[in-house]
Amino acid sequence: MKVELRGISKHFGPIRANDGVTLSIESGTLHGLLGENGAGKSTLMKILSGFLSPDRGEILLDGKPIHLHSPAQSIAVGVGMLHQDPLDFSALRVIDNFLLGSPESWWLDRHRNRNRLIELASQFDFRLNPDALLSDLSIGERQQLEIIRLLGLGVRVLILDEPTTAISSQQKEKLFETLRRLTEQGKTVIFVSHKLEEVRSLCSKVSVMAHGKITGEVPMPLPTEELVQMMFGQAVMVGKRCAVPLGDPVLELENVTVSDWRLEVKSLSLEVRAGEVIGLAGLEGSGQHLVLKSCAGLQRPSVGHIRIATQEMTGRPYRDFTKAGVAYMPAGRLEEGLIAGMTLIEHAALIDENPRFFVDWAFAAKTAAQRIEAYNIKGQPGTLVEELSGGNQQRTLLALLPSQSRLLLMEHPTRGLDMESTEYIWKLLLNRTQQGTAILFISSDLDELLDRSDRILIFFEGKVRMMETCGTNLLQLGESIGGKGFE
């Protein structure tokens, strides 16, 4: 089935997630959709799969314009999406997951569908036990189930959203083989990813997105440099921080292995000294968050040691890390960092480092006013944090960090901020480093990473590479993020 998107635009408030996107995908092809996080790929695919309605533009399937208003209807029309975390039911069995949502008669015929399931699975060499509980399956297997479920419903366009994030390399190979077979059967596959190498090896044609627009549409194979340029832009950026005087070690990771349900970062060793700034780069879910959380004491490593200023901290609770001078700034502004329903004064009172029994509201008000001034926050001390704009919430998060820390761990510190604010914030952060604070920060802005860090740790599927910023250019950084050099 041929898919055409014409002039798709979608905005969320002031943000233009999709800006006049026009894309054409031929039937029976494996088409890649490449781009950074925030480029607009997921919004576009949500529109195509019926989750969202575009503000403008139209979708044509096999030449016929169609209005998709719900995911279920999209599937009925033949377009199905496999999500990164498959939308399935962990408490039910495989066979029931397969059945739920299919246009069966009133009575469930599990027997017949069991056979159907096994037959479909064997077509692709999947091994799925219909009576197993879904919670016992790995993510790769859950993906396999979802694929045959969608195929069983007659889907002819299969969208895969970052499917290889959490599966083993064996399962990945099998997945790729499956996708190739699907295209041989005449199905259209759209492969959404940010992993350059995979897209290159798998797809026959690639569309690249950046800032809500399509920046290029090219047949494969294509040299990586051109792809990276299309993803990240033409800026010729070279790392500046060289020869920075450093102090004593603040953070030591010795042979640390840390993992969660999705991936594992193995045997990482790292030494961070006072005054150093280390950027953690990599596409979402490559392991940077895991490592940062373990440095904060929120995630216990299964192997290895963590030391803060030569003090052994492995396995100690979060509060001990905080007392040792580690400050952690989470990514979710209103989910984890700020407390909706409380004012800036109340937040200032909460971070009082020497609290007595009664709250000194005058002091808290003064602190709030000071921080508002220092961080240029557009708001009053009495404003509720949820009423601030996103950018100002980010500034508030930064403003609430303890005034003296050994180690600052930040997730996307300048997300949502404009150039001027970013400049301003980094000036303040630089002051801290000159006083001896070490900073580890996660960012998806390559310019920021090159500009501000002394070293960059690049994460890819749980593997880590270190890069000195001095002299590295954007292209090299972008390639590494996309997976080059990690084999």
């Binding site: 509060r319 905080t322 989470p330 984890e336 700020l338 409380m342 009172a349 009664f358 709250v359």
Partner: protein
């Protein structure tokens, strides 16, 4: 927030009150009674004589204490349904101590000690509910309910067993305590200032604690965003247990009041909590967790509760009509809140 936004809230709430009264009037008409007559009876039942007013004040005290306690647990974001059991345990502990020391010390000393015993009993029961939730993974509603049931059964056992009245053990309760162990009252106005004062003091302290201490601030942080509170280094389990304990303690004090208060029956009997705990939940829901408003609203509810007793005595109506009025009020205010936030969010879009 401009002025226009305050007004609809007030208007909606007044509207809700009127609607509640209309609904109750409707019910009364169905039953064949004049609504005006019934409402007048309620008011006279509350204010008709000094003795009746004394009853209202006596009902006000436990409501104040329980509402104050609930403000603490609601601030922490928990539903302390177990409050009835905490009142009961407070009464049990107080009775136990009174029986133990009945003839040993001066009455004043015994009463004070009994108050502490009541406080401890309620606090213990509250902490138990909290521990079940935090360490046993038991939903706080069921933990609370379960403990309510257990407290209830325990009381029945005590009243009919080890603490039974000499001769005839009956569920009317234990042997009543002599007047020396009652809270002192005014001459002619059968109300002890101590009860109501205790309630008012408790409410003020709670309001002060929640707004003016770091404990209160951190507790409110937990209630609004558990994850963020954790990341800010607030010890969650400690604070939540403390909240349960505080509410339980205040409920336990209410239990003590229900035993030694001037207009009490001066003994322990099953269901001594008389639904005051649940009624306090209604109060706090109605006032949207405002300590300031909880004082008059709990008085208002005490008026309705005591006043509607007259209905049973004089008009053969069930005193539960008071409960109907109270319940309708809270329900309608909840509905009003819902409509209000819906129109607000619609306007934002």
């Amino acid at each position: 927030m401009n002025n226009w936004e305050i007004h609809p809230s007030l208007v909606l709430r007044v509207f809700a009150i009127l609607l509640a009264l209309v609904f109750s009037a409707f019910i009364l008409l169905i039953l064949g009674t004049s609504p005006l007559d019934a409402f007048a009876l309620i008011l006279s039942g509350a204010f008709g004589s000094l003795a009746k007013l004394a009853y209202v004040m006596t009902a006000w005290a436990p409501l104040l204490l329980c509402s104050a306690g609930l403000l603490v647990t609601f601030a922490a974001g928990v539903w302390n349904i177990g409050i009835e059991g905490q009142i009961i345990m407070g009464a049990v502990f107080a009775t136990g101590l009174l029986q133990l020391l009945q003839d040993s010390l001066s009455p004043a000393a015994i009463l004070v000690l009994a108050a502490f015993a009541g406080l401890m009993g309620g606090a213990l029961w509250g902490i138990l509910a909290g521990a079940l939730k935090l360490y046993g993974n038991v939903n706080e509603i069921f933990g609370g309910l379960g403990l309510n049931f257990i407290a209830g059964s325990l009381t029945v056992y005590l009243v009919l067993g080890p603490w039974k009245r000499p001769g005839i053990g009956s569920t009317s309760g234990t042997q009543p305590f002599p007047p020396s162990l009652w809270l002192p009252a005014f001459n002619g106005f059968q109300v002890s200032p101590i009860e109501v004062l205790l309630g008012l003091v408790a409410m003020s302290l709670v309001a002060l604690a929640l707004r003016g201490t770091h404990f209160g601030l951190k507790l409110r942080a937990i209630g609004k965003n558990l994850r963020a509170a954790f990341l800010k280094g607030i010890p969650l389990n400690q604070y939540m247990l403390l909240a349960f304990g505080l509410c339980g303690g205040l409920a336990g004090l209410a239990g003590w009041v229900l035993v030694v208060g001037t207009s009490a029956r001066h003994n322990l009997f099953p269901l001594i909590s008389s639904g005051y705990g649940f009624l306090a939940i209604l109060v706090v829901l109605l006032t949207n967790l405002s300590a300031l408003w909880s004082v008059p609203i709990s008085f208002f509810f005490a008026v309705i509760s005591m006043g509607s007793l007259q209905l049973a005595l004089q008009r053969q109506l069930d005193s539960s009509l008071g409960g109907v009025i109270q319940g309708m009020l809270v329900l309608l205010v909840l509905v009003a809140k819902g409509f209000q936030s819906r129109t607000l969010s619609r306007r934002e879009r």
